[in-house]
Symmetry: C2
Amino acid sequence: MDLLFHEKDPFAPIQYSYRVDEVLCHRRTKHQDLLIFTNPYFGRVLTLDGVVQLTERDEHLYHEMLAHVALHAHPEPANVLIVGGGDGGTLREVAKHDCVRRIQLVELDYEVIEASREFLPTLSTGFTDPRVQILEVEGSSYIADSIREFDLIIIDSTDPVGPAQSLFTPKCFSAAFSALKTDGILVGQSESLHFHQPFIREAQRDLRQVFPLVDLYTVPLATYAGNWWTFSIASKSHDPRSLAREVRVPTKYYAKDVHHHAFVPASIYDELVGKY
Amino acid sequence: MDLLFHEKDPFAPIQYSYRVDEVLCHRRTKHQDLLIFTNPYFGRVLTLDGVVQLTERDEHLYHEMLAHVALHAHPEPANVLIVGGGDGGTLREVAKHDCVRRIQLVELDYEVIEASREFLPTLSTGFTDPRVQILEVEGSSYIADSIREFDLIIIDSTDPVGPAQSLFTPKCFSAAFSALKTDGILVGQSESLHFHQPFIREAQRDLRQVFPLVDLYTVPLATYAGNWWTFSIASKSHDPRSLAREVRVPTKYYAKDVHHHAFVPASIYDELVGKY
């Protein structure tokens, strides 16, 4: 028998299909359709509303690159806010840093956290960390209510439609600026350099209206349609390209040379965003 | 009506599907199944034996990176051999260089060239260039029969199974070394850094048995399952990372900074191939 998962990504011009060995969990949460299945190559796969969010095999590429670039660009990140990220992968990476004293994870859908703790043990290791506080609220409102609180805000969201849409607005970028300390950094996933260039261009331009230092870096993913994944990073004072600290945390992919290499060459950036 | 092309790539753990607006050409050549269809996002798409070979939208990424890195690492490439590449994309890029005096294109399946000339006008521009000689023979045998003839050999093959398998052997690498002039360069596509690491590792190690300078660079493609595409490059004397000439050819993606950026960071290379 061939059981297949056909991804239904409305923003991708290619549809991906995965073989399914076993369905471990399939439920309708208050917010979305949640499915976890096993695939012979990728291991366990989490999907939300029909779109793959992570696989055990390649999630480290996404989570390490989302967390460690900003964490190493900041000399002493103590207070970190993660918006989204209910699977725990970003939290696991942030928690590797001893200098981090407090981690707030704001996840609208608590059932994602519960499913991850039950079915994704390699991702959900951080939830029991005493530095962690979990809040089941909407991310952009939480950011808007915070003032000079965080060294680092990490937007680990689903695609910028539905609940996640409010995280990618000029209003939210301004609120994030206010919620960050005077040398804080904001970083977020910002979709595929192949498929979503207009979105990335707009996000970069909107961030530049608010932050003095804005940049774009990428990682090639094995999953996620469009694969050439971007992260938009915006900083109040520290240059995101420079490492302010040595790399001492254990990683599979992130490294000092990977940090430098991840930023897109100027010729690509200028073509995409326009010269400033 | 939804007409879909389901890719049948035996080496990919994800299967890709493309919407088909119109089938322009579907024929059984002497060697393979050849299909050209149109897709609303990618434009015209060429498939061989059920696997996507190129799309009009993203083929420049592959063809520019396959051709121009080696062409710019060599100070004066005059005689170039292209093995495969019947669609004409690599030929189009090579032909942009005025210093190239002779281009031999060795393609086993002449019907691919014919189909490209009829249905892929943006790719097949080079076939009428007076410097071009087309040979309908098997690539590895042709390489084996040549001695100190070429400045550059470009392997633009299908996946290393069936006809293309013989191009990725230690025997063929040795023959290529002999077929190159004393400062010649060999470059070839070498599959996905996500899905085919054992293949890449073996190719890199085999090349190092023959060539003094061996390296690995990548480009993120929108199509090709595994997307993070690698090129293995082997050189007799010129360092592939250095540009021996200015970039004067018109390109959409390749540029001086892209050339340098394309080579994989040492931490990734050492993890993949092992330190030498």
